[in-house]
């Protein structure tokens, strides 16, 4: 496998030449795509077993958003010349397992999701949006995904507080 830089700052990704900047961005988009898809699948299973209609209403939206974020990330990844190959990491798979488990309480799942989303919005995604190595089109897509996640997090926190009777 080549994978190295060639003249003009380009690398080979499959059969297409991509810029060095795009090559650095592709794994991030691929990881995001895999994480969003795994999240959507876990949320779908939570919705199926959730008995609280208030919670179900919002979870449906967050699940659909995750699915659309995966599609957006894949679209950008392919536009940059990449091919999606990533799968969710072990830690994320464990989180998804808990979220999908009908025997875990809604409150525990909410706490877990809030912690997870907070880390991503303030971590990887935030960094990707701000770094100068990301093209502005992808930056805008990532910023919109981050905005959705912020909204989801606000809602999850509000529901969590409501369940706690705060």
């Amino acid at each position: 496998m080549d994978g190295g830089r060639s003249f003009g700052g380009h690398v080979r990704e499959g059969r297409r030449a991509v810029s060095a900047e795009a090559a650095a961005l592709i794994p991030l988009l691929d990881a995001l795509r895999a994480a969003e898809r795994a999240g959507a699948e876990a949320l779908e299973r939570w919705v199926a077993s959730c008995r609280d209609p208030r919670l179900r209403g919002g979870l449906r939206v967050i699940c659909a958003r995750d699915r659309s974020h995966a599609a957006l990330a894949e679209e950008r990844l392919r536009a940059l010349g990449g091919v999606p190959t990533a799968t969710a990491g072990r830690e994320l798979q464990a989180v998804c397992g808990v979220v999908a488990d009908p025997d875990v309480s809604d409150r525990s799942k909410l706490a877990l999701l809030i912690a997870r989303l907070a880390g991503r919005v303030e971590g990887t995604l935030e960094h990707a949006v701000r770094t100068s190595e990301v093209d502005v089109e992808t930056q805008a897509v990532l910023a919109a995904i981050g905005e959705d996640d912020l909204g989801s997090m606000r809602w999850l926190r509000a529901v969590h507080d409501a369940l706690d009777g705060r």
Binding site: G57, G58, V61, E75, V136, E137, A140, V141, G151, W155
Partner: protein, 157 residues
């Protein structure tokens, strides 16, 4: 179905049709958009509109209500043609969108009114709450982008 439930279903259906048409218009704009950053935002916002339309259609099905509303075809086709036109600048298109919403709250006002009447249906209420929040985020983004665009110094010809 009670009269109130019928009114709510009609609102959800009209909103679904509007979101679907909105996604069509935004996708037409994406195809001719010359500004990379704006194009990225439009892609994400078009996707958001399509997600809202899908969620509302799903909820209507669960409530046993049909999805029959359609946006007037002349209006929809006109908007697709205008926003998909290369003859109109991105700045003009931004102004057209924002002229419809004098403030960020204007876009969600009708949704919030329905949310207040939905205590008997918390599932639809919470779904609408997040849809409204997404709509606010969209208008806020357009406004912020327009402001940022206005601050940029044009390149000398």
């Amino acid at each position: 179905m009670s009269d109130d439930a019928h009114d709510v279903a009609a609102f959800l259906d009209a909103l679904r049709a509007a979101e679907e048409a909105g996604a069509d218009v935004l996708n037409a704009w994406v195809a001719t958009c010359r500004l990379d950053e704006l194009r990225g935002g439009l892609r994400a916002i078009a996707e958001r509109e399509a997600v809202h339309a899908g969620l509302l259609a799903g909820r209507l099905r669960e409530l046993g209500a049909p999805c029959t509303a359609v946006v007037n075809e002349l209006l929809r086709a006109g908007a697709v043609s205008r926003f998909g036109s290369a003859a109109l600048s991105d700045e003009e298109k931004l102004s057209l969108v924002l002229a419809r919403y004098p403030d960020d709250g204007a876009v969600t006002k009708p949704i919030r009114r329905v949310i207040e009447s939905l205590d008997g249906d918390p599932e639809t209420r919470e779904l609408l709450r997040l849809v409204a929040e997404g709509e606010s985020a969209t208008i806020a983004w357009f406004r912020a982008y327009q402001r940022a665009l206005g601050r940029r110094v044009p390149l000398p010809e």
